[in-house]
Subunit: 411 residues, 2 copies
């Protein structure tokens, strides 16, 4: 008998019929003798509806009140899911984040989980209950409701799996696993049986959108066994996210190609090349709770350097306001530029570590397609480039083919 | 400077525009230097939508989960109202029932408030915040969310006014005060400037639907000054609900005519007339959390008596099941009958105490209209009759005219 955490996203609980289908799935696992904790998102569309309501009240909604409104969506689904289970004759109980003390910091709208009180859940599990937890939400030390940011229900599931020492955390989505790239763009994209946490982290944060980055980080940190599965297809083992140490894992050079159209590029040109300059630029941006993704600083000439980073498109205006009002003159920069017609593309693979030539093959392929790259950034297991948004599709297709990702190659 | 609790019902917060209008109204009072606590219901239609969702999951929804789902409606409105206030430059904070420990018993779906923790609210008021509280909900000693039953937001408002020792509790509704009877039925119905708690209690519990009975009980118990006002009309002082001791009050013989089409009559015939029989009949009904309204027992002949009571129509089937399975044979009753095509009509007025002839005038009027009465029940300030549902409109009109309720008569 195992303890399994099962997370169902918005499309999986989109309407009463789907919630009943979720209950059927949970009931099947329960009847096999497992202990089950279910984590649910809001019914799809519901969060957007609530967000719109807050914006009708205030253009930039106060974050504390925003969280109170928006967190209600998951509360509704958790109760409905428990009802669907009870209707099948299964003992079930739902909990909102504050009821099982999913303690977070007070960074409303993007809070981080600090701890979870497992007492109530353990008592209920011992009594045979299936526990349904409202995802995406927590409570800060003052008892104020917080939310974890979009996709936060994944993080809730992983954090609960860690706190309760669950045997497996299953993330049910509208895809049946992790693919080498988006199958809607590249029909030959292949489902991966397994992927390492490191790779998954790069893929998720770069836009593969199957799992929230923080949930993968959290799973890696607490060694939670994570599995991505389809909500809608009965069969299939999905993709398991493994620890790199696992020697039996499938280990191709490149696991996948991630891409992202949501970001904008910001360039601060002619910055005096002094120690602490990165902090002076990014500090005020971070203080405004704006997430910065890629950061590139080139070596300077004439004592000056160019500094580039990317932010979500929706944060671009705010970022430029901050840079122009608080940063530009302060650091003595010449110019602040931006571009929101860009896309980011990343090749990801742990095999890259031990294989030379990946970067050059990548750049050759893009060059053969006459695709121009504006910025390059690399890590141990990833090469990211920024290119024009309109070239993205061609770039992904060409690279998927060049690296033979449709074939199951292991090293 | 006063502390005012202002409660806005579902139609007053039906959509973003109305919520903004509520914020304008609150802002006006705040600018006059008052401290304000706002209590809000769910946006109209929202609670029904949530109830339907629970019923799609389960025909008789588990009450604990039902409360979790249904309470979310008020949480949303509280956050939105706070946002609308903040947007006007007013410091505002919303709280769900559990956040200010509106402690209730655990009678899910119809819980009763036991206490309210006023610490957080007092601190916030001192700092100049307008507090917005989600009505209709509380939390039991286990931390489970409870709801107070339909119209429970009135009770929330009064309980908060009592706990915070507010100077006045204003209930904003879609009517501009308490009328001598429903103006939709009798166009000559007149708005009362004041009414006693006792009268209001009789009127509210008998179906005048402006205020929830329990809220009036609670206001009377804790001497909360209650005022009913229109959400939609700027002017007007509404109707104030006074203590009987107040000598200046308008005091007609009859204050109003209440009526109610929601009840069904249950008759238990041929019950042996023994001590404790009422408890033996009503105990099992109360245990099933069914509210009983009128109770009539006639003096018996041949050692047997007939016992009549009314319940809400929706509880009739359950009540009959209980009576037939647990009560009928146990108490040795001959027959259990019921009728759901009835209506209840009540004349209410403190003046009745000192004026004879009210009952006979009432019965004469109904007789002249050839309206048949099945059951009569009286109290110090009320005469209630049960009659055929189809005769109700004629009865109300005839009595309103006979007692000259369209004229402002004081004794």
């Amino acid at each position: 008998m195992s303890l399994i955490v099962q997370k169902f996203g918005g499309t999986s609980v989109a309407n009463p019929e789907r919630i009943k289908a979720v209950a059927d799935k949970v009931a099947k696992y329960k009847s096999q003798g497992h202990d089950i904790i279910v984590v649910v998102s809001a019914m799809s569309g519901e969060t957007n509806k609530l967000v719109s309501l807050t914006q009708e009240m205030m253009t930039q909604p106060d974050p504390r009140e925003y969280d109170i409104v928006v967190s209600s969506g998951e509360q509704v689904t958790s109760g409905l899911t428990a009802l669907a289970l009870i209707n099948l004759g299964i003992k079930a109980k739902s909990y909102a984040g504050h009821q099982i003390k999913i303690l977070t910091d007070d960074a409303y709208t993007k809070a981080r989980i600090l701890s979870i009180d497992n007492k109530k859940i353990n008592t209920d599990l011992e009594q045979g209950y299936v526990i349904v937890v409202a995802g995406f939400q927590g409570v800060d030390k003052n008892g104020d409701i917080t939310t974890l940011g979009r996709g936060g229900s994944d993080t809730t599931a992983v954090a609960i799996a860690a706190a309760l020492k669950a045997d497996e955390c299953q993330i049910y989505t509208d895809v049946d696993g992790i693919y080498t790239t988006d199958p809607r763009l590249v029909p030959e994209a292949r489902k991966l049986k397994s992927i390492t946490f490191e790779e998954m982290l790069e893929l998720a944060s770069l836009g593969s959108k199957v799992l929230q980055t923080r949930s993968v980080e959290c799973a890696g940190k607490f060694k939670v066994k994570l599995r991505v599965l389809s909500s809608f297809e009965a069969a299939g083992e999905g993709t398991i996210i493994t620890f790199e140490e696992d020697e039996k894992m499938e280990n191709p050079i490149i696991s996948g190609i991630a891409f992202n159209r949501d970001e904008a590029e910001v360039n601060i040109l002619g910055v005096p090349d002094k120690p602490g300059i990165a902090y002076q630029i990014l500090g005020p941006v971070a203080d405004a709770n704006i997430d910065v993704d890629m950061i590139i600083q080139n070596i300077g000439t004439d004592g000056a350097t160019d500094f580039t980073f990317t932010v979500h498109k929706r944060d671009l205006k705010k970022t430029l306001d901050i840079l122009n009002s608080k940063v530009k003159d302060h650091v003595g920069a010449k110019e602040v530029l931006s571009d929101d017609k860009i896309a980011k593309l990343s090749l990801v693979g742990v095999g890259m570590k031990s294989h030379a030539g990946v970067a050059s093959k990548m750049f050759r392929t893009l060059s053969e397609e006459a695709i121009n790259i504006s910025t390059i950034s690399t890590s141990e297991i990833k090469i990211s480039v920024i290119l024009e948004e309109k070239s993205l599709d061609d770039a992904v297709k060409a690279l998927h083919k060049a690296f033979e990702l449709d074939k199951n190659i292991t090293i």
